[in-house]
């Protein structure tokens, strides 16, 4: 595999960004879209080539050094890339789904005056995302980590005349920075423990540690704080629903398929460290499960098409962490992949609907769209089945694998997971039925304007639909007489983990019949939810009540997202503002008072001293004699 080709993978999007960013005034719209998209498609082609070259060469990680970035004392942080199974899988998702979303954006953003800026930002995002997964050490990962955060900020606030959107963007950046601080402290601890930040070096040294070593637990907890911010887990999740202020392709690419899965990538990348820290994994699993259930429950009552999908994303990320908590690293990666397909598809489908509905996002004003938007409907249907976990679509295999591992690990978490599945299936089918079934409930004008989206938008939908339908077959469990290609492929990543914690990697103790039972339960739950949703929203044709109508206490609580935003606002935002005002008006005043007191004191002492300067020789002689007497006494007595 040639190094220069590998460098081009992140470099091409960067070049695309520079061309569109610098030439934004002069390059015509058509060219902008082509340059931006071509940069990513070329990157995708190179990724495929790299993948093949890697397969041909074996399974060992390949390091591609570029230059020494920061060198201080004994610490050297090289700017270099690492190609292995994990980075390759991420490359394929990022550039693959990224290409489709770029193509889609050509149609979706066509009328926007910021077309050039949009493509520039999108390319910049891919550059940083690719750095994140390609870096061979934690600090390069951190470059990508913060870089994607910046692009997320710029794209959430893309329509920057709107103050609410700007606030959402700022909130996302700041909340992510809370996580980033955790990440940074993790890196510092890694530096003081291992003297290096290079993955290979750190992980090979880590195998000398005992399971449960406090330093390793500290590192993994710090890193996980970073993951909670980027991957929107409790308590750092509230930025993601607000991030829906950005254009819909952004939600699909950044806030569903790629950036938000960076936290999962980080944990899998550090699997040696996490396998050494079972107590951290316990926390990871619990937070994942709590998030999965909590976010799903909020999704039940949301009426904004993108908000439902946003909470769904938070919830699905929770499933991935639940899997990580049970050390089912490959299963979580599997879910990252299938989720990238079906969630990107759902968002792009939602975009197609919003496009057709003249920017309406409230599902209460939709209905019956399946006739006017047949392709969007069919693909959305496939994605809904896939996310609900109904076989043989992609989500079934990946979610089921996670749940099976969780079942072996902790039965209570499994129950939570199944409950979450039940809710997932319900809110997704509710969304599907309210949007595409029944009669149209929007304005006359909107109805008149309804149309299927152009080919640039529907082709990506179709491709993603195929992937959502068939993507699960890369990991068919042995119980279903399939081969788990993905798990086999990823297996070398855990060599060191197997060495330090062999018990965690023993083959499953579940019998086939137990596995069938587990599958049966989750499929049954999903189907029942879908049927209930069908009865409620198609047969009875009920529509969620308008906001003006009073709600029961519980409904109000869920509908208002458990008031978490309000609590954060009161506890953190308001108190820091108050503190700022107090320090500025009283703190500064007080310090100045002390300073002035010193000045006064000096003036006073100076005044006293001045009085000694009488000008009379007698006084001076007296003082001199007095001094000599004191000195004499001093000498004699001591």
């Amino acid at each position: 595999m040639s190094a220069s080709l590998l460098i081009l993978i992140p470099l091409l999007p960067l070049i695309g960004f520079l061309i569109n960013g610098i030439g934004f005034k002069t390059i015509p719209k058509g060219a902008v879209g082509i340059i931006g998209t071509l940069a990513v498609v070329a990157s995708f082609v190179l990724s495929v080539m790299t993948f093949q070259a890697f397969l041909a060469a074996g399974s060992q990680p390949v390091i591609v050094p570029l230059f020494d970035w920061i060198t201080v004392g004994n610490l050297n942080i090289p700017f270099s890339f690492q190609v292995d199974q994990l980075s390759l899988l991420m490359l394929m998702i990022i550039t693959g789904v990224g290409s489709l979303i770029h193509i889609y954006s050509i149609g979706y953003m066509h009328h926007d005056e910021g077309f050039g800026k949009f493509f520039a930002y999108l390319n910049l995002f891919l550059f940083f995302m690719l750095l994140l997964v390609l870096g061979s050490n934690y600090v390069i990962m951190f470059i990508g980590w913060e870089g994607v955060g910046l692009c997320s900020y710029l794209l959430i606030g893309f329509w920057n005349k709107n103050t609410n959107y700007n606030n959402a963007a700022r909130k996302a950046f700041i909340m992510n920075r809370v996580g980033d601080l955790g990440f940074l402290l993790g890196i510092f601890t890694i530096i003081s423990t291992f003297g290096s930040v290079e993955y290979l070096e750190v992980f090979s040294q880590a195998t000398d540690f005992e399971i449960g070593d406090p330093v390793i637990i500290t590192i993994t907890l710090f890193l996980f704080i970073g993951a909670m911010g980027k991957s929107a887990q409790i308590p750092l999740y509230t930025w993601l629903p607000d991030a829906m202020a950005g254009p819909t392709p952004v939600s699909a690419l950044i806030h569903a398929a790629t950036m938000v899965t960076a936290g999962i990538y980080m944990v899998i990348r550090s699997n040696v460290l996490y396998s050494l820290a079972p107590s951290t994994l316990e926390i990871v699993g619990i937070i994942g499960a709590a998030t999965a259930l909590f976010a799903a429950s909020i999704g039940l009552l949301q009426n904004d098409i993108k908000k439902v999908l946003a909470y769904s994303t938070v919830s699905q990320l929770g499933y991935m962490f639940m899997g990580l908590g049970a050390m089912a690293y490959s299963a979580s990666m599997f879910h990252v992949i299938t989720h990238a397909f079906f969630k990107a598809l759902l968002f792009l489908g939602a975009g197609s609907v919003i496009h057709a509905m003249s920017d309406e996002q409230d599902i209460r004003s939709m209905g019956g769209l399946r006739k006017k938007l047949p392709i969007t409907f069919l693909t959305f249907l496939i994605a809904t089945i896939a996310i609900s976990g109904i076989p043989p679509f992609a989500g079934f295999f990946s979610k089921d694998e996670i749940l099976a591992h969780v079942f072996e690990h902790n039965k209570l978490l499994w129950v939570i997971g199944v409950l979450g599945s039940l809710m997932t299936s319900f809110y997704m089918f509710r969304l599907l039925f309210l949007t595409f079934f029944g009669t149209f409930r929007g304005t006359h004008e909107q109805e008149h304007h309804l149309h299927e989206s152009p080919a640039s938008m529907t082709i990506p939908l179709v491709i993603l639909a195929v992937l959502s339908a068939l993507g699960g077959f890369i990991g068919v469990p042995e119980a279903l007489h399939g081969t788990h290609h993905l798990a086999e492929f990823m297996s070398p990543l855990y060599d060191a983990s197997r060495q330090v914690n062999p018990e965690a990697f023993l083959p499953t103790e579940l019998s086939h019949s137990e596995e069938y039972l587990l599958m049966g339960v989750s499929v049954a739950v999903a189907l029942v939810s879908a049927i209930v949703a069908y009865v409620m929203y198609v047969q009875k044709a009920s529509v969620p009540a308008p906001d003006s109508q009073p709600k029961s206490a519980l409904q109000g609580l869920v509908y208002n997202k458990y008031y978490v935003d309000e609590i954060y606002d009161n506890v953190f935002v308001k108190s820091i503002k108050t503190l700022s005002n107090i320090l500025y008006s009283f703190g500064e005043f007080f310090i100045d008072l002390v300073v002035n007191a010193f000045v006064r004191l000096t003036q006073f002492l100076a005044g006293l001293l001045r009085k000694t300067q009488t000008g009379s020789t007698g006084d001076y002689v007296f003082a001199m004699v007095l001094g000599m007497v004191i000195i004499l006494f001093w000498k004699l007595l001591l």
Binding site: I70, L75, I174, R177, D180, L184, L185, L583, E588, V595
Partner: protein
């Protein structure tokens, strides 16, 4: 000899500017500023990091007393000389936006200031250092007192008294050390390094130096002169103060405090570290609610310098290297930000965030430059601010985990106030104050472009500068640890 040239050239240029008359002053000042930069670059190209202090000269001043006019350049001096000579021409161009009255005096003062700053950063004799340390105060005092805002006299007087007080303490310390040197005494800084002082004495000298430098930077709680002075001064003076002059304080810590009184550091270092960390958080929190953009950046600068000091007090190679690279980064970013605020002020006649909004709609170039400098300031990786903050925070964290975590809050708080600054001025609906706002002129771009290039240079390839200072820094640490 290059060092002598670096000190004398700006003085000569200042005199020339004064003589060239009001109409030509600008141009003469700019050309001479660039010439000084050229000399500095020549020194850089000939510089050998491993060879210690270079380009030295020494003339007897008070020969009998061992006091001499001696200066030279090692790695630590070089990066600060480069910073000074790089920023001075940009500060001169940035003033072109305004019609300052008496331009000949105005620009010549900037050049005199440059000479004094270079003197501070290169002096190898303690009394010469002191001379330049004091001399630097005079031009900037006049710049602020003559061309400043409404409250300038009251504010600059406070600033003057405050720093003079600190300097006097330092003088007492220096005189004491001078009398401790063996034989007929000498005031060479390296002779001070060799002194064997008792712990108790070291404690007193520590305080004399600490207060002097803490006021200059400033560190908490010696900072109350700073926000007012930064806000009331004309922008070029604010730039000199924040971009370069505060580095005199950090430089003093590295050159004097650490190596001369390591015993004092052992006793009082933790206190100094805690004060620095308090300053980081205190300044950041106050910056969050500021409405005057200039005052906001003043508090942010106060917070940043606290982190640099914390790095120095951590006693480690990460901390010192981080402080040095951060001095460069901070100088570049803060000057850029003050200039952008000046641009906005000169167009809208307001610096209040509540009155601004929506500027980005007509100013793509300004927006991009502003954003890049802001990212440098909030330490986004691949910008200059990250390298320094990463090294500094890691050094504080290794000093003490809790202090490191608290100091680390700066990356959150920094993004809070900087993004608020950007959003309230650039984004949102267009305010009536920004009607007809024009994008950058050529001369404005001439200032911002070099700054932004440096933001990325230091961010992407910091080793250019880290390698320059590393030998000098490790030598210093070795000496301290013995």
């Amino acid at each position: 000899m290059l060092t002598l040239l670096l000190i004398l050239l700006p003085i000569a240029a200042g005199v020339l500017t004064l003589l060239s008359g009001e109409r030509l002053a600008k141009q003469v000042a700019l050309v001479s500023g660039l010439a000084v930069l050229g000399v500095a670059i020549a020194a850089w190209l000939q510089f050998d990091p491993a060879a210690g202090t270079q380009f030295s000269f020494k003339y007897a001043w008070l020969a009998s007393g061992g006091i001499s006019f001696a200066a030279g350049i090692d790695g630590i001096s070089l990066v600060l000389v480069l910073l000074t000579t790089f920023l001075t021409p940009l500060i001169i161009i940035s003033a072109f936006n305004h019609d300052y009255r008496k331009p000949a005096s105005f620009y010549s003062l900037i050049l005199f200031m440059e000479a004094a700053l270079i003197g501070v950063f290169t002096a190898t004799d303690a009394f010469l250092f002191y001379l330049f340390f004091e001399a630097a105060l005079i031009p900037v005092y006049f710049l602020a007192a003559i061309w400043g805002g409404e409250n300038r006299l009251k504010v600059t007087f406070k600033f003057f008294i405050y720093t003079i007080f600190g300097s006097l303490l330092m003088l007492v310390g220096l005189v004491y050390l001078y009398y401790q040197t063996p034989g007929t005494h000498t005031s060479e800084i390296t002779a001070f390094y060799a002194l064997q002082l008792s712990k108790q004495v070291q404690g007193f000298v520590f305080w004399a130096f600490f207060i002097a430098f803490a006021i200059k930077m400033p560190l908490f709680p010696f900072h109350t002169w700073q926000p007012d002075t930064y806000t009331e001064s004309p922008t070029p003076a604010t730039m000199l103060l924040s971009g370069i002059m505060l580095k005199m304080g950090v430089y003093g810590l590295i050159r004097f405090l650490l190596p001369i009184v390591p015993g004092g550091m052992e006793v009082w270092g933790t206190m100094a570290m805690v004060l620095s960390v308090i300053g980081i958080i205190y300044g950041s929190i106050i910056a969050i609610q500021q409405s005057d953009m200039k005052r906001l950046i003043a508090y942010s600068s106060f917070a940043h310098v606290g982190l640099m000091a914390a790095g120095v007090f951590s006693y480690s190679i990460n901390g010192l290297q981080g402080a040095l690279i951060q001095m460069l980064a901070h100088g570049i970013n803060v000057i850029g930000l003050f200039f952008i605020i000046d641009i906005i002020y000169s167009r809208t006649k307001t610096r209040y965030l509540d009155q601004l909004g929506g500027i980005t709609q007509s100013t793509p170039h300004l927006s991009v430059y502003f954003m890049i400098l802001l990212l440098g300031s909030v330490a986004l990786p691949l910008t200059n601010g990250f390298v320094g903050e990463f090294l500094l925070l890691s050094s504080v964290f290794q000093y003490d985990g809790w202090l490191g975590a608290i100091a680390g809050l700066t990356i959150i708080l920094g993004s809070v106030y900087m993004l608020r600054l950007f959003q309230k001025s650039m984004f949102g609906p267009r305010s009536k104050w920004v009607e007809g706002f024009q994008d950058l002129t050529m001369s404005e771009r001439a200032v911002l472009l070099p700054l932004v290039i440096m933001v990325f240079w230091i961010g992407i390839y910091p080793n250019t500068f880290l390698k320059l200072t590393e030998p000098a820094v490790s030598q210093l640490l070795q000496m301290v640890n013995n």
